[in-house]
């Protein structure tokens, strides 16, 4: 459960003051898929940064499993991100000079996972995105779609509770984008990880349980998915977590 309460974030001073988030409040149930939808500059990225503890708004609370991460010390927030969160970005941010193994191993190293466990977990993560055969390839030799799959492997390797995806399909053609979407939603279903997608792609947003529309730093609308389209999908909020 993520509770966002009264978040306000401003940039600049006095005359140049710009309100990126204006008193934003909403709740995300555990294991849900959420789309934060808005145009460029609407404040959707700032919201994601605030929820992930990367940014510190002036006021408000982000309560994750009963703990306000904005009140935590920097070190504790870092640990929180290293063990419970992951990111996927529009421009992948995979390290082109490094092998797939080293790319995926990074979050484990940061989380101080013992070396002996790393190999198995990296292999599992790469196999989950069907890159098992590329373990020793340099990331620069991968196609765009493969790079984003590599980024997903890196994101899921530390079994996060929350997975942030910032325009995950923005740099991909629709076919490849579909593959990535499927991977993300499947992972959400299988592992019960809360998936928060920041996007301006309404089609992608439609597939999420919860859609938070944001404009000029304010939430304009929150939409819940009506009747479940997929028959296999269990109702929201039920305990599906299998960590």
């Amino acid at each position: 459960m993520i509770e966002v309460r009264d978040l306000t974030k401003t940039y600049g001073k006095k005359n140049n003051k710009f309100v990126a988030l204006d008193d934003v409040s909403f709740e995300i149930p555990s294991g849900a898929t959420v789309a934060i939808v808005g145009k460029s500059g609407s404040g959707k990225s700032t919201l994601m940064h605030a929820i992930s503890g990367l940014d510190r708004p002036e006021t408000g609370e982000v309560i994750i499993d009963g703990e306000d991460i904005l009140k935590l010390k920097k070190k504790a927030v870092d640990t929180f991100r290293a063990t419970k969160m992951s990111f996927i970005f529009q421009s992948f941010f995979v390290q082109a000079n490094e092998t797939c193994y080293d790319n995926v191993s990074l979050p484990l190293e940061i989380a101080r996972v013992p070396k002996k466990d790393r190999k198995r977990r990296v292999t599992e993560a790469l196999e989950a995105v069907e890159l098992g055969d590329k373990i020793k390839s340099k990331a620069r030799n991968l196609s765009g779609g493969q790079k984003q799959r590599l980024a997903i492997a890196r994101a899921i390797v530390n079994k996060p509770k929350i997975l942030f995806a910032d325009e995950p399909t923005g740099n991909l053609d629709s076919t490849t984008g579909d593959v990535i979407e499927k991977l993300l939603f499947d992972y959400n279903k299988k592992q019960g990880t809360t998936l928060i997608i920041v996007t301006h792609d309404h089609e992608l947003a439609e597939k999420c349980d919860l859609r938070v529309y944001i404009r000029d730093g304010k939430i304009t609308e929150i939409k819940r998915k009506e009747a479940p389209k997929h028959t296999d999908k269990k109702p929201l909020g039920s305990s599906r977590r299998t960590v």
Binding site: H49, S52, L54, D55, K74, K75, D78, T79, F80, R81, A82, T83, M85, S86, F87, F89, Q90, S91, F93, Q95, N97, E98, D102, L106, P107, E109, I110, A111, R112
Partner: protein, 453 residues
């Protein structure tokens, strides 16, 4: 993040920018090279000086003298106003206070001094070798029984034993100059020293003679007196690169030297006064303690270690100059590291942002860049030191040849420990240089870093 993982990632980042890493390392390498050479040259010089002294001076020997100017204190050229002393001896144009018979007695009676050997000044006008018509000159010294010398031909007495009074030891180089082919058969041949004594009558004596015998008798009074002394060659010392005296003087026995010295100085102020003496301190007693005691009795003394110190001062100075250049090169390379690391931080903004987003602590990010700097320092140090070692070792024979140090002596002596210390030192310097770039990386805002637009 664990230290080992950070170090590994730091090494990998450097490998991904090979050219840049190598060039930055080379800058440090130049400094490391110079410093290694200076260390090696210092060590080599010290070893050489050590060898030089130990093969010329007995470690238990004390060089005792009275006049401080003898050892350069106050400067050799100091011709300033000096207090007159009855025991002043003219030596080489210098007025030196000398050791009186009383001083020698004090030395002989010292409980820790085994033996006193005054520095006899025996100068022959010339000397001749049996079977050779030419006349020669050279220094004449007392055979030093406390220093091991090697015989080329003939025999030398065992360590601690003097040669016989009628014997003389000749350096091998003299026979080379003489053109002796069969050195072995030359042993047993005679050397004749031609000594001339210049009488130095005192003013009173002159006055006395003029008064009693008239001015004509004066000529007889200052007339020189000549004497030929013949010795038999008992041994020929081998040419040695480090033993200075062994290759430059004739050696006669102590008793003969005393006799000849007395003959040459009798009737002059120099008679039985010596500018210096060698006192052999008993085994097990530190010569320095005897030196301190002698200082209380108005005598100056130098231990073998002091003599070493004199040589080492020069060596240290030269080494310091070379090391100075090395440090200068290092100083320049520090800016190289700072520059390289700043560029690296700029280039890897996104990577740093990503690592921070994934929960890497700022402290660890700073560490990553500091370790990278340490790697550069390590690489530069190893490159510089290895080059110096390889080049120095291969050039050593040539240098030895050019400087005439003698076989077995090397100017550049590389020891592992100082080299390791140097490399570690360079790593520390590199880390210090990498401080500012590392701080920049640590302070980087991940949100800014990951902004794609």
């Amino acid at each position: 993040m664990k230290r080992r993982d950070i170090i590994r990632r730091a090494g990998r980042s450097l490998r991904q920018a090979k050219a840049r890493t190598l060039l930055t390392s080379l800058a440090i390498g130049v400094g490391a090279f110079t410093l290694s050479v200076s260390l090696a040259a210092g060590e080599g010089s010290r070893q050489y000086a050590d060898k030089l002294i130990s093969s010329n001076v007995n470690s238990q020997a004390l060089f005792v003298y009275k006049d401080k100017t003898l050892m350069g204190e106050g400067g050799f050229s100091s011709g300033g106003l000096k207090e007159y002393s009855d025991s002043t001896t003219q030596y080489g144009g210098l007025n030196l206070k000398s050791l009186t018979p009383k001083d020698l007695e004090v030395l002989s009676n010292d409980k820790d001094i085994e033996k006193v050997l005054p520095m006899y000044l025996v100068t022959a006008q010339y000397f001749t070798f049996e079977g050779k018509s030419k006349k020669y000159t050279a220094d004449i010294s007392v055979y030093d029984s406390t220093v091991r010398a090697e015989a080329a031909v003939g025999t030398l007495p065992p360590l601690g034993t003097q040669i016989k009074d009628d014997e003389i030891v000749v350096p091998e180089s003299f026979l080379d100059t003489l053109g002796v082919k069969d050195k072995k058969s030359y042993v047993g041949k005679e050397v004749t020293l031609h000594l001339v004594k210049q009488k130095q009558p005192t003013e009173e004596e002159i006055a006395q003679v003029v008064k009693t015998q008239g001015p004509a008798a004066l000529a007889q009074l200052v007339e020189s007196e000549a004497r030929d002394v013949t010795f038999r060659i008992s041994g020929v010392t081998k040419n040695s690169a480090t033993s200075l005296s062994a290759s430059s003087a004739l050696f006669i026995a102590e008793n003969s030297a005393k006799e000849l010295s007395d003959f040459l100085t009798e009737g002059t102020a120099k008679y039985q006064s010596y500018i210096a003496a060698t006192a052999i301190v008993k085994a097990g007693v530190d010569p320095a303690t005897v030196k301190a005691r002698l200082a209380g009795k108005g005598m100056e003394a130098r231990t073998a270690k002091d003599l070493q110190g004199l040589l080492f001062t020069i060596v240290n100075l030269l080494q310091g100059i070379v090391a100075g250049f090395g440090l200068l090169a290092l100083f320049a390379s520090i800016f190289g590291i700072i520059n390289t690391q700043y560029i690296s931080v700029l280039e890897r903004t996104q990577q740093i942002g990503l690592m921070k987003a994934l929960g890497m602590r700022s402290k660890d990010v700073a560490k990553l860049f500091r370790y990278e700097a340490a790697w550069i320092g390590f690489l530069g140090g190893v490159i510089g030191a290895a080059t110096a070692w390889g080049l120095g070792t291969s050039l050593n024979p040539w240098i030895t040849d050019q400087l005439g140090l003698g076989a077995g002596n090397h100017l550049l002596v590389f020891l592992p420990l100082p080299i390791v210390a140097l490399v570690v030192g360079l790593m520390v310097i590199a880390v210090v240089a990498g401080y500012f770039p590392a701080r920049k990386a640590a302070k980087l805002d991940p949100i800014e870093a990951l902004r794609t637009e």
